[in-house]
Amino acid sequence: MTVHAFLLLAAALFALGLFGALTKRNTVIVLICIELMLNAVNLNLVAFSKFGVNPAITGQIFSLFSITVAAAEAAVGLAILIALYRNKATVQVEDMNEMKG
């Protein structure tokens, strides 16, 4: 196995996640598409920790940090979703335009 197979898979997953995040109308789905993009990036980090220019355990440590921050992001995003749903009774992203000029 070489590094570029993993990089290609991660690029494909990232493109699919970005496509979903830009086109889906449901806020929960947009959030999990962002999680998919973060996963693709983590896959790159772990691949570089095995096959990179300077292979070391550092890539895995960095991916653990990014998983932690992703968990925090998901929690805050979901809390914002619940608060918005309580006020506006909708989960569609184009109805959330309170801050539009």
Binding site: L36, N39, K50, T58, I67, A75, L78, V91
Partner: protein
């Protein structure tokens, strides 16, 4: 074709398949379950890359915690059943973003194609958890403490955001 390549192809196919099902399913809960499939196959890829600890963390955090949290988010909100034909905000926008993503992937493919660093880490799979622990508690101890503060602040913030506001004043 060696066994390693075959396992990689199977896991990669499952991952892409899960992501595609996620983009095309009509019910929100089905989208989430398809994404759990993708997360699990990515955990398998981590094992292939001799990152056993990260694989277990992936199964626990992504396939376990985040998915359950998202399922709670789906169950606590109401989702229209007629949302099937309104999946994309508009078909024109969907096509534009789709073409942009294909272009993006093409550019990445061209850039990635010739990449080969030549070096492979020989001993990442030997006592992987111990290596991570030693590194985390010696060299990366300050980022480790900082990220725990980030988690604490984020979860307190999430609780405050999701709390009902009728008991203020």
């Amino acid at each position: 074709m060696t066994g390693e390549v075959m396992i990689f192809l199977v896991l990669a196919t499952i991952a892409i398949f899960g992501a595609l099902v996620m983009l095309n399913a009509s019910k929100v809960i089905h989208m989430l379950l398809a994404l759990v499939l993708t997360f699990l196959s990515i955990a398998g890829l981590y094992v292939m890359l001799s990152a056993e600890f990260v694989a277990v963390v992936q199964v626990l955090i992504y396939s376990g915690a985040i998915s359950i949290m998202m399922i709670f988010g789906i169950m606590l909100t109401k989702h229209h059943h007629d949302a099937k034909e309104r999946t994309y905000r508009s078909s024109q926008r969907g096509w534009l973003v789709g073409v942009a993503m294909v272009l993006f992937f093409g550019i990445m493919y061209v850039l990635i194609e010739g990449v080969n660093f030549g070096a492979t880490a020989p001993d990442l799979h030997v006592e992987n958890t111990k290596q991570i622990g030693l590194s985390l508690y010696s060299h990366y101890v300050i980022p480790f403490e900082l990220v725990s503060i980030v988690l604490l602040v984020a979860f307190i913030g999430a609780i405050l955001l999701a709390k009902r506001e009728e008991d203020t004043e």
